[in-house]
Amino acid sequence: MNEILKANLLSPIALAFALGIVTKLIRSEFSLPKDIYTGLSVYLLFALGIKGGVELGHAQFASVIWPVGATLLLGCITPLTAYGTLRYLGRFSVADAAGIAAHYGSVSAVTYIAATTFVKGMGAEPEGFMPTLLTLLESPGIHIALALGAIKTASADRDIKHVLHEVLTARTMVLLVGGLLIGFLMGEKNWGSIEGFFDSKGPIFKGVLTVFLLEMGIVAGSRLGDLKKVGPFLLAFGMLMPLVHGALGAWLGTLAGLSVGGATVLGTMAASASYIAAPPAVRVTLPDANPTYYLTSSLAITFPFNILVGIPVYFQVAQWLHA
């Protein structure tokens, strides 16, 4: 375990992320321009999708169907476990509980990528169709949590349809789903001509990912100051909830027949919290939910926790389950 943890902490992406946090701690004003940040994320997501599409071509239906089921199940369970914990144990308002749950019911693509890179480094190649699962886990959780909040509060002052459409057509979805289709359609020969650029095992992808995590560290670091404001419960929630969801995901993944690598990645997806698709959706649907709560917990607590500690743990768990 210690070996694995150490290996992870000394990986370029973990170190870059740590550097980003330090950058904020020393009160530096440095950060990546917003457009560059967007550009890099477009590259990462698109590469992910295309590669996934190419490999999806090799997968047979039978092997995909169960993991798909497990993923959708996670999409329905995680927002509810999160909501229940926050509302009844944490005594959060309906709006706050639903708002935060929407984040934990969805997924962080960057955390997913970090997990994929990690397990590959550990020699546990995940199934090729994992990106497909990522796209499936993105939105259900947000929808369920928002619906929950909208029903329980009169305050959902905007037709939720519009919001769901925005989530479904957001950057992440377009690039992942679109990339999957492109990769699936173009075939091996074409893939060969662009593999050197998009391959998620190649140096360009890993290099861009490193730079991207530097910025993620800065973003997360700029929220550390809010940790005081969110109180001890949310602090604990931000680390324990991922462990629960991560173990659950790894377990369901294993049951569904995923390899150690695949189960680890699915676990990480379940454990991760969205901080791109969820925030604006929650902001407009549940204006009474305090953004400081959901942004700090997903960005400043759960994201770093997963990147630095969680992923190796879920990997360990997946190994036990497969033993």
């Binding site: 917003k34 305050s155 905007r158 925030p279 604006p280 407009v284 204006p287 009474d288 953004p291 400081t292």
Partner: protein
């Protein structure tokens, strides 16, 4: 140069509200608007900057009655729960008749 005195309404709000606000401006009678990206701080300062992009500054030249309707709408709909500021002033507009 003869001009028409009209109202210039300025609204600074969270970016997530832009699409919604401009749509409502139209419905309330505005013939157009100009948006500029902004950042800022206020009483709920943190809020505004919580959602990346921090702020949009919407200006619209309208008649006094439309201005009143817009301010009222913003006050009711957004003030209680969003980071917003809204104010109005009088401006002399070229070909002002176009905007009423």
């Amino acid at each position: 140069m003869e001009t028409v005195p009209l109202k210039l309404v300025t609204i600074v709000a969270e970016p997530v509200l832009e699409e919604r606000l401009t749509g409502e401006l139209r419905r309330l009678g505005a013939r157009g608007w100009t948006v500029t990206e902004s950042r800022g701080e206020g009483s709920r300062g943190i809020r505004a900057s919580d959602i990346p992009g921090s702020g949009v500054r919407i200006e619209t030249v309208v008649s006094a009655t439309v201005a009143d309707a817009i301010l009222g709408h913003v006050a009711r709909q957004y003030f209680p729960r969003y980071a917003v500021i809204a104010y109005v002033t009088t401006v002399d507009v070229v070909r002002g008749d176009k905007y009423v």
